[in-house]
Every structure is written in structure tokens, then in C-alpha cells.
Amino acid sequence: MRSSVIIFPGSNCDRDMDVALKKFGFKNQMVWHNDQSIPKSDLIVLPGGFSYGDYLRCGSIASKSKIIKSVIDFANSGGLVLGICNGFQILTETGLLNGILQQNKFLNFICSNVFVKVKDKENKYFKNLKKNLLELHIAHNEGNYFCSDDELKSLEDNSQIAVTYCGADGTENESTNPNGALKNIAGIFNKNKNVLGMMPHPERMIDKYLSGEDGSLFFKNILDNFK
């Protein structure tokens, strides 16, 4: 499976993502934001970081960069596009995903492990995944997901909520919501579920000695579903 990771000025999880993808057998290549086109890919990843220093709004400047038109065309033709953290923020600013990531409710930068519940498996990312709860890592200042009531209803009606923050036992409430996100939302799909944006970093959970291996499950699952 061929993948491309887009690098923006200020991306800082691009190489972690490269390491993770290659570890599980993706043929990955790095693509510069100023390029016009993306090499043939089965998956495009917008990595985490602070593209353009988070100026104006997180992801807003990156969402207007040269390469984005190709990303949007790829997404609209059904290609898999995965945005992690800042990548999720960029996807909402392009309009490929609904809503916006606002500043965390308590104005703090959060860096910690969290549990997320997989809410939908009828898609190429989570189909056949053996676990329903994943332990992943978050590191962000703007992860407080927000959208209008109409958009929320449409997300719920179309099962576009991908993952939600929860406790180790799966409890979803205010105490297991790290950043104030609407309905504990940690990640969402577009209508066709080929575009996934999420705040947690699976690429930081690929080594049992350093962190955990739930990220490994995530990447292996995408590969298995592609075969």
C-alpha cells in the first residue's frame, strides 16, 4: 500500500508518521506542501505539528497551500485521507470535514495518554479491528471539537463519529473528556468515510517498550483492509 505524508512548515510529527507507516509495510514517501501534485498513493496523511505556527487559526494557512487542491481531488475521488492532530485541524479548514477544533476548554496544552472508543467499523480504517477501545496519545492545545447542532445531527445520523474519548472501562462523560470536545468527539469521518481526522496520535503507540501498541493495531488494520 503506497502512502504519502505531506510536510508543511511547522509539521513535527511527519517523520514519526513515516517511521510508523514503514514499520508496518507501507511504501511511504514524503511530499512537500509547495508541490503541485502527489505521487500515486493509496493513503495521504496530513501529520501533526504546528503548521505555519498556528497563525490565524490552527490549520487555516496550510489549508490554502498549493498541494491541498490535489489532496481535495484525491479525497473527492474516494482516496483515503488521514489527518492526525494538526492534520485534523487542516481537514476541517479545507471543508473536507465538518466543524472546527477550538482551544481546549481549560486553556491548557494537554499531553497525555487517553482511551478512545471506536464508534464505527463500517469503514476502511476500523473494519475488522479486534478491539473497541484503543489507548492512544494526545498532545494539543486546540482539540476541543465543535460544530453546529445541524452538523452534529448529520454526523450522528450518518455514523460519521469515528472515535470518542472515554475511560479505561469505556465510560464516556465529562470526566473522561480531556478538552471539552462536543460529545467527547476525538475523531470524525466525512460522509463517504474515506477521510478521517482525529486528534490522538496512533504513530506514537507503535512500540510496546516505549508506549503501547494500539497504534500498531490501527496501522496494521488499514493494511489488512486494503488487501
Binding site: 490565524l56 487559526r57 487555516s60 490554502k64 476541517t92 479548514e93 465538518n98 466543524g99 472546527i100 477550538q102 482551544q103 481546549n104 476548554k105 481549560f106 486553556l107 476541543n144 465543535f146 460544530c147 453546529s148 452538523e151 471539552g180
Partner: protein
């Protein structure tokens, strides 16, 4: 021509920074501060003499980049 834009959060959208500023002001004995909403202010120099045209250009910029209409309103002043 210089066009000025103010971008603010829509009513009903949580503004944690505004809230923190309000609480700080209250703590500084400005007890009559009931609410604070924080926003952004832009001064845009447009190469255009016709004010109407310049404002219409800036309006387009607001919609496409300066404001995110999911949570923000803008005002050209």
C-alpha cells in the same frame, strides 16, 4: 485603501479566553464586568481606490480565510 475587519466568536460559542479575562478583571475589583468576548482585528491595505470594490474584496477574503464561519462572525468597519 485601508480596510478594517473585526472577527468575533458567534453568540453561544464558548470563549474560554474571554471567560478567563472576565474572571481576572473581576478579581482585580472590576466587579461590574459581566462578560468578555475576545476577537481579532485586521487592517488590510488594498490596492484599490473605490471603497465599495475594496470592501467587497475584503468581504470575500473574510469568507475564504480570515473568519471561520462555523464559529466566527466578521464585521467590516
Amino acid at each position: 485603501m485601508k480596510i478594517k475587519v473585526i472577527v468575533t466568536l458567534k453568540n453561544g460559542v464558548l470563549d474560554p479566553q474571554g471567560k478567563a479575562i472576565q474572571q481576572t478583571l473581576n478579581g482585580m475589583n472590576f466587579g461590574n464586568v459581566e462578560d468578555v468576548r475576545q476577537g481579532k482585528y485586521f487592517e488590510i491595505e488594498v490596492k484599490e481606490k473605490d471603497e465599495k470594490k475594496a470592501k467587497s474584496l475584503v468581504d470575500d477574503m473574510c469568507k475564504k480565510l480570515l473568519a471561520n464561519l462555523v464559529i466566527e462572525d466578521y464585521k467590516i468597519v
